[in-house]
């Protein structure tokens, strides 16, 4: 093939290690975007690879392998919510699938979460938007957030609670 082989239509993985190396970060990121914490993201990533690599056929093309990892991850995530909260809080959708499968060689791109978070924040009134931005995105303590907003810690807590309820009511943009 010309162009140093980069145009080969159907890239394949040499072995399971290549599958792992190429996908562990992106699968982790995708799941992190759906659980929001390391402990669960690590457990679920483990579950995905433990389940997927054994039965995987390497003759499949790289995009097919990623589709398969995506499907496994979707099932694993659904099981996680069934076990922990009893209903499906987040799910992997076609946006996530596109993100995982089409993503080029760099797995450093953040998941779909930042874009979804922005969409939520953009719809909130100013005080709600700011408290959530400070607490969740900027990782401020309640005290720091209260200071930044010039309000008491007690009120910051109430405001955060209301803001989250409001964000939830915005509906299903966030899924």
């Amino acid at each position: 093939m010309s162009d140093s082989g980069e145009r080969v239509a159907e890239p394949r993985y040499a072995d399971w290690e290549a599958v792992y190396r190429d996908n562990v970060t992106r699968v982790y990121r995708m799941l992190y975007g759906k659980v929001g914490n390391k402990a669960d993201a690590e457990d679920l990533t483990t579950e995905v690879f433990m389940a997927a690599l054994g039965p995987l056929r390497l003759e499949a093309s790289a995009p097919e392998v990623r589709s398969y990892l995506f499907t496994t991850a979707r099932t694993v995530l659904a099981g996680h919510w069934r076990r922990t909260l009893g209903l499906e809080v987040t799910a992997l959708d076609t946006d996530d699938e596109r993100w995982l499968v089409d993503l080029g060689p760099e797995p450093e791109v953040p998941s779909t979460a930042p874009r979804r978070a922005e969409a939520i924040l953009a719809q909130l009134p100013e005080p709600h938007r700011r408290i959530l931005q400070l607490r969740f995105i900027d990782a401020c303590s309640l005290r720091e957030a209260a200071a930044a907003l010039g309000i008491t810690v007690g009120y910051a807590k109430v405001l955060q609670h209301r803001a989250l309820k409001r964000a939830a009511a915005l509906g299903e943009v966030a899924t």
Binding site: Y20, F49, T90
Partner: protein, 234 residues
């Protein structure tokens, strides 16, 4: 309130604790999770984690010593009334204890739609006339632990993970062979056709033309320091 505790855990980077959520709580948590996941650089996996998972996968995928001689059927069985010193507790290492809740994963690459919804093929065994029977002392079943029990008419496995207790049947849903707990205590292997189930009953792998159903669950509870399973009254 549980929702607020969950959010607090998220904000502190701790594993959030489970609770029975309703739709309102779910909507709130969905927003909280999306926001928490958008924190810059939060979603990079730890290097140790990537390395450690690689090691575990190498172990799992290494060509297994296939000629494990047929296990003595009774050797793994925990009789119901043994003293604590003779009880075998099999601890699963690491985070995957009882975790794999995978749908039917065939021996071939499967199409994108075929796994969804397959995970809960089996229901819960509810005998017409049943009794709660002790199968293990609570203290003998730590988080990550799995224990086999033999109650005559029913054999099975109880396990405990972060989410709580769980009991499943110990009989393969394909043709009724009795399952063995693998040496790592992570999954239940059928000696007949290389089928494996997670300790929560989900099918992990098989080589059959059709995926066998997940293992039936049994009702399980904890009373007075004992783990009890609801079993048919003999």
């Amino acid at each position: 309130m549980s929702t607020q505790r969950y959010v607090r855990d998220l904000l502190r980077g701790r594993r959030p604790r489970r609770f029975p959520a309703d739709a309102e709580a779910a909507a709130e948590l969905r927003a909280a999770i999306t926001l928490a996941a958008a924190k810059p650089d939060a979603d990079s996996p730890r290097e140790e984690f990537v390395h450690d998972l690689h090691r575990r996968l190498s172990e799992q995928l290494a060509p297994a010593p296939t000629a494990r001689s047929a296990p003595e059927p009774s050797s793994n069985v925990v009789p119901l009334r043994l003293g604590p010193t003779r009880r075998r507790v099999l601890l699963a290492g690491g985070v995957a204890a009882g975790a794999a809740a995978i749908g039917a994963v065939g021996d071939h690459l499967i199409s994108a739609d075929s796994t969804a919804g397959d995970t809960e093929a089996a229901g819960t065994l509810e005998p017409n006339v049943g009794t709660w029977r002790q199968v293990a002392a609570s203290s003998d079943l730590e988080v990550g632990g799995v224990r086999q029990f033999d109650a005559g008419s029913v054999v099975g496995f109880v396990s405990r993970d972060a989410a709580g207790l769980r009991a499943v049947s110990g009989i393969c849903t394909h043709q009724g062979c009795r399952l063995n707990l693998d040496p790592d205590g992570r999954q239940l292997d059928c000696p007949c056709h290389n089928t494996s189930f997670a300790v929560d009953g989900a099918l992990v792998r098989h080589q059959l033309p059709q995926p066998p159903a997940a293992l039936p669950h049994l009702q399980v509870r904890e009373r007075g320091g004992q783990v009890e399973v609801y079993l048919p009254t003999v």
